[in-house]
């Protein structure tokens, strides 16, 4: 039922497959059925590899958010299992909305994960400042969320996720509510951040371009019931930058990803129609 198609990597001077990083977590035939009998996931097989940037791409309702909730342990699989190669790691989570506490300033918002772990404000200060610097907001520690633009709020949300130095960063359509310009800027910043972060990132998105630009590997999911439909590995320079968007490899990967996405929705991809 579940079929994972691995497309061949684009030809040309692509480097021979790097040593494949070990799996961090593996979904084995995972079903998720909600109380109202909605089958969000059915027989999902999915591997999350240590240190990779994995993008989950798929139509609305295919269970992407459910995968993230299962990873954090906020939900349990109804059938099947999720196997961790190590102890359950520290997570950072970024939602589609900034999800800040409006009554607290930026500093206190970023402090939250450490505060819940019992770390005092003074003890946490260096880590909070580091996280704010990583997202370029060190000057705004005292601002309240409502004084910030949408993009800045999102950065605060990312800083909050980074402050515990998580091994795994989960992002659920983090930039979907932003305008195009802010979104591109944040994509660049995230790409740069990822290279210095050393974390495993699982990034949920609706956008083909965003997933190709950022990810090492894209898993396209299909809906009703949610399952992994196709897998695409992205051959790209280790540090992404604007230049990557101009390359033929980028365009080709976008085309293939888009085709897989349409196929997952049971449509004939537009690019094949025109051929």
């Amino acid at each position: 039922m579940t079929k994972i198609v691995t497309f061949p990597s684009p030809g040309g001077g692509a480097s021979p497959a790097k040593a494949r990083p070990p799996a961090l977590a593996t979904f084995r035939k995972v079903d998720k059925i909600f109380k109202n009998q909605v089958m969000a996931l059915s027989g999902l097989d999915l591997e999350i590899r240590t240190g990779e940037f994995l993008s989950l791409l798929g139509p609305s309702g295919c269970g992407k958010s459910t995968v993230l909730r299962l990873l954090t342990g906020l939900a349990e699989p109804s059938r099947g299992e999720i196997v961790w190669s190590c102890e359950r790691p520290q997570f950072g989570f970024v939602f589609q909305e900034p999800t800040l506490m409006p009554w607290s300033d930026v500093f206190t918002n970023v402090w939250l994960p450490l505060r819940l772990a019992g770390v005092s404000k003074e003890k946490a200060r260096p880590q909070i400042e580091e996280a704010l610097t990583q997202v370029g907001l060190s000057a705004f520690a005292k601002a309240y969320p409502r004084q910030l633009s949408g993009g800045m709020k999102m950065r605060v949300s990312i800083a909050r996720a980074l402050v515990t130095r998580p091994q795994v960063l989960l992002m659920d359509e983090p930039f979907a509510a932003l305008d195009e310009i802010t979104r591109l800027k944040l994509n660049d910043d995230l790409a740069e951040l990822q290279s210095s972060l050393n974390a495993t990132v699982v990034f949920v998105t609706h956008s083909v371009f965003e997933s190709v630009y950022l990810a090492d590997r894209i898993v396209v999911m299909a809906a009703r019931p949610g399952r992994a439909f196709a897998e695409i590995s992205v051959e790209a320079p280790p540090i992404r930058s604007e230049g990557f968007r101009m390359t033929a490899a980028y365009a080709e990967t976008c085309r293939r990803t888009s085709a897989a996405l349409h196929e997952s929705m049971g449509e004939t991809p537009a690019s094949e129609l025109s051929q």
């Binding site: 906020l74 989570f93 939602f95 999800t99 506490m101 409006p102 009554w103 505060r115 309240y144 409502r146």
Partner: protein
């Protein structure tokens, strides 16, 4: 102050002035006797001449209202917190909450006067009237924290106490303050109604009692003066609670947006 501000204040002041002048004019022109409709000037004069009695009555009414409000805040917040701990407790209280909410509480004032001393009956009536909007709002507020934040707290393994103090209480604050503003006005109404009910039995010394008493004596100017003071009391409570709300929420809540310009 900008030009717009000046206009903003001048227009209502002007219409108020016009209304009062019209009232004064009509009373003088038709020579209406003060025991039918006193002119504003007569009401003001009465306010000064009877200030001793009226001011002490104002004080009594304000004190009762404030005591009732404080008791209502303590009671409703405590109960709302208990409700927030368990759905079952909330459901258990549900019939009482509904019965008391759909009954106009002031209707039980005569009943309270049978069971309690008049002074206490007035206080209890004001308390009950103020209690339910506060309870309803605070209960709603405590259960309306952003569900993504609730998930985030769970993901970071927050304790119940941490979730409550860092998330549920602050989320409930705007709801609580909205309830407080409603209840402030209602507590005054409760106190006045109960006092009128008690006043007819010859008890009490608040502003409502002064109105009843002046009515018996056909001292209409004093009745108007007492009425004016009740309005002033209502305005005072409203302004105070609005300022409190602004002070607590101005940093973050949408309802207070734009006031700082």
């Amino acid at each position: 102050m900008t030009r717009d501000d000046l206009v903003g204040y001048a227009v209502p002041a002007f219409t108020l002035g016009c209304g009062l002048a019209f009232w004064e004019g009509v009373v003088r022109w038709y020579a209406i006797p003060p025991y039918l409709l006193p002119a504003p000037s007569v009401i003001i004069a009465t306010l000064f001449s009877d200030w001793g009695t009226l001011s002490s009555s104002l004080w009594v009414t304000l004190t009762i209202t404030l005591k009732a409000l404080v008791a209502a805040v303590i009671g409703s917040v405590t109960l709302a917190i208990i409700f927030a701990q368990s759905r079952l407790v909330e459901r258990a209280f549900y019939p009482f909450a509904v019965a008391l909410q759909v009954t106009p509480i002031v209707a039980i004032a005569p009943l309270l006067l049978i069971y309690l001393t008049p002074a206490l009956a007035v206080l209890v009536c004001a308390f009950l009237v103020a209690f339910f909007p506060l309870l309803a709002n605070t209960t709603l507020g405590l259960s309306s924290a952003d569900h993504n934040l609730v998930d985030l707290f769970a993901m970071y393994r927050a304790s119940r106490l941490q979730q409550f103090t860092f998330l549920r209480l602050p989320s409930a604050l705007p709801y609580f303050l909205a309830g407080l503003r409603i209840s402030g006005g209602l507590a005054l109404i409760g106190a006045i109604v109960a006092e009128i009910a008690a006043g007819s039995a010859g008890q009490g010394s608040g502003l409502a009692y002064r109105i009843v008493e002046s009515g018996f004596r056909l001292n209409i100017p004093r009745m108007f003066a007492a009425l004016l003071l009740i309005s002033v009391a209502g305005i005072t409570i409203h302004v105070f609670l609005t300022a409190l709300s602004h002070w607590l929420l101005s940093d973050w809540h949408e309802s207070e947006r734009g006031r700082e310009g």
